[in-house]
């Protein structure tokens, strides 16, 4: 280290004074880099000014604390910052302008806590609420797939514990590079997709299974841009009595650290996540990946639930990114307090850690509770009974100052308000006009081969070999499972029955359309929202709340920021239009590697309710002779479709969302399900009508015939292949018994719908084209083979 900038203090442990008072701009940037702060010049200057006023230099622990708190990961600078558009207009906070605005304007009475806490909370039934959170863990998973993914699950479960909720279900959505990616094309430092895939899948399974939380919903998506930037979304749903949602800490309360011990694992995780990945990431950032111990978290969960039920603590939060530094800081800030810490009290995995390491370590399975003095012993005993360590590490104070002591010496003193007012970001956005073309090729006579090819494409094919390694049954409350039908077709949503004395269910679904993002970030976002909501509705869900999780490239690059702005604008419009408020979200930016940026990817998670789980509908066909209806209109929208992809095109005509139609279709489906007319329902997504019909058939083992001439289409659609493979949003396939024909038709009459086929008893799958000749003719076994073979 440079003598001039770093001055070792004469204390009985390792601590440095950072000479920023004498540092010039070059030095400041050097300090930021060498200490792994990931702060820019403006931020470093702000810090220097602060310490100039204090007439002293900061210590390393102080500077690290600021670095953690101001990191993109913890503070979401991009979403809170100022964005200058090409026409000179300004957006003051993407978050406030789009995401939170929809929620505020919708003002749903069933939203209990949105965006404020570790997880969003909505009302469920009686005194019960549902807490939901979805996180990303991309950067760690790229370096160490097993640990990265496992701790992603562990972290999101703690978010749910952090609102006093009992975790009852997990979700995971994963994005990998093609598994057959050419080894010779991999740049140094990038791991092969197959290696990452194996590790991530095992990591997720190991954590969720070991903790006894069912993994009930998810998706796996393959894209070339994920080779360098693996995408790992981890979600968790929890249940809590709303009367036990206690957050009223005050000065004098103890800060109790509970759970695993603190070590050097997970140092600089958040600043690492706020940088692009490079060849050196493995070497430099390996310690940033934490080590997972699900059993510790299971015990921690038991103790937390016990403390909650006895009402002994005044607040709780998890230790995630930034470790103690952000948990303590945020707790103090939230309750308008200061904090006084004795860092020696933190139980360590090994001695000789520097104070700054203890304070920012992201070691897993730790929670921070605030506990009034009179309850301290009781709380600590509860943890002891579960064989979990819990220790008071200090107290909340009334002075808005963070004071840290170590071995009797003060090592940090920072004003909490300063810590939470980083300089506002100003960034410019640019909208790039892509030069895209709609392809033209002659219509194939026979489309059987195309259907089989799409069924076996990695994004459509069965994920059973992966999903079976996750326990989706533990807790015994999974009513609609990831698979349905004799042959394990893909369910649209999962349904959980969380309360023993109620039939009310939670419906969990998601939507993700990265390939549309290559054409339009706006319609990609709109489509993801539509897909998540229609998946929910197809199973019987309604009253949907949404979560947004952005995975984007470096926001300092104007074009990446431009597409982010567009996606956020769509979030506002369609959240509001569907009357489905956002309740929580998270962004992961800086997903760039030597291979380039990640394809802009937005995961929308939808949480609905179903009044009676016994009315839930699965997607497998139920009985020969039943009628097949389509609800929703089909447009010539093949841009980004699977069909174009197998033909080697991207195209331009990305699926749009027509709010009026979409709402009508979804309402019609919900009504028909409630009235008991629907035996099976499946949403149309990748691969369009052809794939949805094939999935319903192959799941059940029944055959199916479809008459394309009956399908309601927009005027310009005259090709069999386009009708079959268009991926227009807001559409459903519905199986209806003959006896409900009239009743069903009158129920859905407001929406585009048509009788387009029937269930066959003979196991053949036939699609009759516009001129009544078969354009697809296959046996169910063929469909199953194509669909199950790849993974």
């Amino acid at each position: 280290m440079n003598k001039h900038l770093y001055i070792k203090k004469d204390l009985p442990f390792e601590i440095y004074e950072i000479n920023i008072l004498e540092a010039d701009e070059k030095d400041l940037l050097k300090i930021s880099k060498e200490m792994g702060l990931a702060l820019n010049l403006e931020e470093m200057l702000t810090i220097r000014n602060y310490f100039l006023q204090k007439h002293r230099n900061p210590t390393d622990i102080e500077l690290q604390t600021i670095g953690q708190t101001w990191s993109e990961h913890c503070y979401h600078k991009t979403f809170k910052g100022l964005i200058i558009l090409p026409d000179g207009r300004e957006i003051d906070s993407l978050f406030k302008t789009f995401i939170a605005k929809a929620t505020r304007e919708l003002n749903m009475p069933w939203c209990i806590s949105v965006f404020e806490d570790n997880a969003g909370i909505i009302h469920f039934e009686g005194d019960y609420g549902i807490a939901v959170k979805v996180e990303t863990h991309n950067h760690p998973s790229a370096i160490e797939p097993f640990g990265g993914a496992a701790t992603g699950i562990g972290g999101v479960i703690r978010d749910v514990l952090g609102v006093w909720a009992d975790p009852i279900a997990c979700m995971d959505v994963l994005g990998f590079g093609p598994l057959d990616y050419d080894f010779s094309k991999l740049p140094p430092g990038i791991k092969h997709p197959r290696y990452i895939f194996r590790g991530v899948v095992d990591g997720i399974g190991s954590y969720g299974n070991n903790m006894g939380i069912p993994t009930v919903n998810g998706a796996i998506y393959f894209d070339e841009s994920y080779v360098g930037n693996v995408v790992v979304y981890c979600g968790c749903v929890g249940l809590l009595p709303i009367s036990r949602y206690v957050k009223n800490a005050r000065a004098g309360d103890h800060l109790v650290l509970a759970g695993g011990r603190t070590g050097r694992d997970g140092i600089h995780g958040v600043t690492f996540a706020s940088l692009e990945l490079t060849e050196k990431s493995e070497e430099v950032s390996r310690p940033a990946v934490q080590i997972a111990n699900p059993i510790e978290e299971e015990k921690l969960k038991r103790a937390i639930m016990a403390a909650r039920d006895l009402g002994l603590a005044s607040s709780i939060t998890d230790l995630g990114g930034g470790g103690l530094s952000s948990a303590v800081g945020e707790t103090a800030y939230k309750f308008k307090c200061g904090a006084s810490l004795k860092l020696d009290n933190v139980p360590l995995k090994y001695s000789n850690m520097a104070p700054w390491e203890i304070y920012i370590s992201e070691s897993q399975e730790r929670m921070l509770l605030t506990v009034p003095e009179s309850n301290l012993d009781k709380v600590i005993r509860i943890f002891m009974n579960e064989n979990v360590e819990a220790t008071s590490i200090g107290k909340l104070t009334s002075d808005s100052v963070l004071k840290i002591n170590y071995k009797g010496f003060p090592v940090a003193e920072l004003d909490i308000p300063f810590l939470f007012s980083p300089p506002k970001f100003r960034r410019t956005a640019k909208f790039i006009k892509l030069k895209l073309k709609e392809p033209f090729f002659p219509e194939p006579k026979d489309l059987t081969k195309d259907l089989l090819e799409i069924l076996s494409s990695p994004n459509v094919a069965s994920k059973e070999s992966v999903v079976r390694t996750y326990d989706h049954e533990v807790k015994g409350n999974t009513v609609l499972k990831p698979f349905c039908g004799r042959n394990n077709g893909p369910s649209d949503a999962a349904v959980i029955k969380p309360l023993d004395d109620s039939w009310r269910g939670i419906v969990i679904s998601c939507g993700i359309n990265p390939s549309y993002g290559k054409i339009s970030a706006y319609w990609m976002a709109a489509s993801a929202i539509d897909e998540a909501i229609r998946n929910n509705a197809a199973a019987g869900g309604r009253r949907v709340a949404l979560l947004d999780n952005f995975v984007w490239g470096n926001p300092e690059k104007p074009d990446r920021l431009g597409s982010l702005v567009r996606a956020c604008a769509a979030c506002y419009r369609f959240s509001k239009g569907f009357r489905a408020p956002f309740i929580s979200g998270k962004d992961s930016l800086y997903n760039e590697s030597p291979l380039g940026p990640v394809t802009p990817t937005l995961l929308i998670t939808a949480i609905g309710v179903v009044p009676d789980v016994r009315k839930t509908v699965s997607m497998d066909l139920k009985e020969a002779g039943n009628l097949i209806y389509i609800v929703g209109q089909t447009y010539a929208e093949l841009g980004g479709s699977e069909y174009y992809r197998i033909k080697g095109f991207l195209g331009k005509s990305v699926p749009k969302v027509r709010l009026k139609e979409a709402r009508r279709n979804i309402r019609a489906i919900t009504r028909a399900i409630d009235r008991g007319y629907v035996r099976a329902c499946h949403d149309l997504s990748e691969g369009g009508l052809a794939v949805a019909a094939a999935e319903m058939a192959l799941a059940s083992g029944y055959g199916l015939e479809i008459w394309l001439r009956n399908v309601p289409v927009a005027d310009d659609l005259r090709r069999n292949d386009y009708i079959l493979f268009s991926e227009s949003n807001s559409r459903f396939l519905v199986e209806v018994p003959v006896k409900y024909k009239e009743a069903f038709e009158s129920t859905v009459r407001g929406a585009h719908h048509a009788l387009i086929g029937k269930v066959r008893g003979d196991g053949s799958f036939i699609i009759y084209g516009l001129n009544r000749d078969p354009v697809i003719h296959a046996g169910i076994e063929e469909l199953i083979d194509s669909w199950k073979k790849p993974l």
Binding site: G205, N209, N210, M211, G212, N293, P294, I295, E296, E298, K299, N385, E386, N387, R468, T469, Y470, D471, H472, E473, V474, K475, G476, N477, T478, V479, L480, K481, F483, C484, G485, R486, K497, D500, V613, R614, T616, V617, S618, D620, K622, R679
Partner: protein, 272 residues
């Protein structure tokens, strides 16, 4: 003894995670079920005040060694004598999944010559290898010895889900035949993996989901009072838990798992 007087003790340690649904299944039958941390069972409460002892599913202590082994050693070291007395009184013990692994590791099962000092069988890594969560078919094989399946006719095919990575039932290879004959003679074989129609899986995947010897999914001790099984009956207790109830249109009231809980409750009612 009346139903409501029956007390079930469900033991958990760090990593146990199927205790709540197991408790719920017993309570639905009108008996009293309690979940206790092993710390309480080994120090506070008296096991002999209870009539049924259950080791539920999960990953006790993380199963970082061999599944169930740490839990088994801990239990036998700290309260082995009490457990043996519990068994000697004819009180039933149930081990589900991780609990089955624990019963085998503790020597309580198969227990051909009483509780053995060393395990006499094993639940080894699945073949094909890997964790697997799925519904399987099981054929009831017991002639009436096992108190957990007395209400189930012999030959009846049950459907219950499994979820494990280590469930391959094995006997010492050199004495495989001999011990198997002993198990048959003692009527200790309770459940075997089979096809939907009830044909034995004969080791074939996927009907036999883990490569278990003789398709064994569950066994009891020679007295029929200690029962361990890899499948999870508490996840097949209610009809709405079935994987295909949507095909029927409306879920039936109960699933096949219920009969296991009901059998043992009726046994206790009659015996005590």
């Amino acid at each position: 003894m009346r139903r409501e007087e029956i007390r079930v003790c469900i033991v958990r340690v760090g990593g146990t995670n199927c205790d709540a649904e197991t408790k719920r299944s017993f309570e639905d039958l009108g008996v009293k079920a309690f979940v206790y941390h092993f710390n309480e069972v080994s120090q506070g409460i008296d096991l002999l005040d209870y009539h049924i002892l259950v080791f539920p599913g999960g990953f006790a202590y993380g199963d970082y060694v061999r599944a169930g082994v740490i839990f088994a050693k801990n239990v036998m070291a700290r309260m082995g004598k009490k457990i043996i007395r519990f068994v000697d009184e004819g009180k039933p013990i149930l081990g589900i999944c991780n609990g089955f692994q624990m019963l085998v590791e503790s020597g309580l099962l198969p227990g051909i010559n009483g509780v053995s000092e060393h395990p006499e069988a094993a639940l080894a890594t699945n073949i094909p290898i890997g964790y697997r969560c799925k519904w399987v078919y099981l054929r009831h094989e017991n002639n009436g010895k096992c108190v957990f399946t007395r209400l189930i006719p012999k030959g009846r095919v049950l459907r219950i889900p499994i979820s494990h990575a280590e469930g391959r039932f094995l006997l010492p290879r050199d004495r495989e035949k001999e011990i198997l004959n002993k198990l048959l003679e003692n009527d200790q074989i309770v459940l075997r993996y089979c096809s939907e129609n009830g044909e034995y899986a004969e080791g074939r995947y996927p009907d036999n989901p883990n490569g278990s010897f003789h398709d064994i999914a569950g066994i009891c001790n020679p007295e029929g009072t200690v029962f361990g099984l890899m499948p999870h009956p508490e996840r097949a207790y209610y009809g709405w838990q079935l994987p295909d109830w949507t095909r029927i249109g409306k879920p039936p009231r109960y699933g096949d798992g219920k009969m296991i809980f009901e059998s043992v409750v009726q046994y206790v009612m009659r015996k005590f």
